[in-house]
Symmetry: C2
Subunit: 195 residues, 2 copies
């Protein structure tokens, strides 16, 4: 699974074959079938594991935040800081986002759901709902691409998040407190290294 | 070159080998070397051709626009409308943007240069220069991803561009006129089909 994760991070899902995985993992081709029935099965397992990993972190963060908007802000910050700290993870997110695979729609739906919940509670206020979502997701996507492509200052992720929150209409004092809140230790559990 | 373009569009640059290209083009492996010295040479030729294609369209548009800001707006609209009309082209842009290859830095530099020129002339006005660029590039990246992944309404590209221009601080009446200006016929010359 780790080999599959690393290949997806490097080259994406498209054109991936079982032989790529067994070569990267340095095991025999046939041994693959002791663990998975197909390439699609191992890819689904890796994507599922990555979503559980993210989900666990977001849940942990939700427990530290004082409201939904702060949780949303901290989750965005964490996403970007993680990609800055671990480029393999950042590239994995980008490449799966471009695959049309489950992860993308998963992240998109989670993000949309979190935004809608904050709107309902009156924490976010904006006129043009479609485009605020486009701005936030665009900042996340482009910000991740920049963070995995170049060495950017440590405050870059939080600058992006401030812009995203402004566009969602979160009050300034709430933005400031959400950006000051300490994040959990991101190096605690690198994805699939703990497995 | 067309086969290479289509493979990049489908799977990206990473892991591409000459055999993929000759199989897609349905020619013998050895015949490749009658035309190109290496895989990198054909990839560079395709990316170069795509930049010339884009450059030609942007120049044509600049001739139709009444000022730099309008030219910028029409170019953004054209980028997005092209990806909507021709998903192969849209995927090609996305996948090369994620390759760390020349095209990305090319587009990024062109965009930054165009924005800076409009700022200098006082057409764009914004406080936080870094983040307006991030918003515009994020909208372009995420908008393109949405346009190649789903059937979206014909007015979606222009909605994205309106949001981008607002964030750049372009005056409302200038935004409206830039969005009303007719674009050149985008189906006139599909990339590499004319070759």
């Amino acid at each position: 699974m780790k080999a599959t994760y690393e290949i997806i991070s490097q080259r994406g899902l498209e054109g991936l074959v079982i032989q790529d995985i067994t070569e990267e993992a340095d095991v025999g081709y046939g041994s693959f079938y002791n663990h998975f029935q197909s390439k699609d099965a191992i890819v689904a397992a890796v994507i599922d594991a990555s979503r559980k990993f993210s989900g666990g972190l977001h849940e942990h963060i939700a427990g530290l935040a004082s409201d939904r908007a702060e949780a949303f802000a901290m989750s965005l910050r964490m996403c970007l800081h993680l990609s800055r700290a671990d480029r393999t993870w950042g590239w994995f997110l980008l490449r799966t986002a471009l695959s049309g695979g489950e992860l993308r729609s998963g992240i998109g739906e989670d993000l949309q759901r979190a935004i809608n919940a904050c709107l309902k509670e009156g924490l976010f206020k904006y006129d043009d709902s479609d485009m605020a979502y486009e701005i936030v997701f665009g900042l996340l996507l482009f910000g991740t691409l920049k963070l995995v492509s170049a060495d950017l200052p440590e405050d870059y992720p939080d600058k992006l998040v401030r812009t995203a929150l402004k566009n969602l209409g979160l009050a300034d004092e709430k933005i400031n407190s959400a950006l000051e809140k300490p994040l959990p230790d991101l190096n605690l559990m690198p994805f699939l290294d703990a497995a």
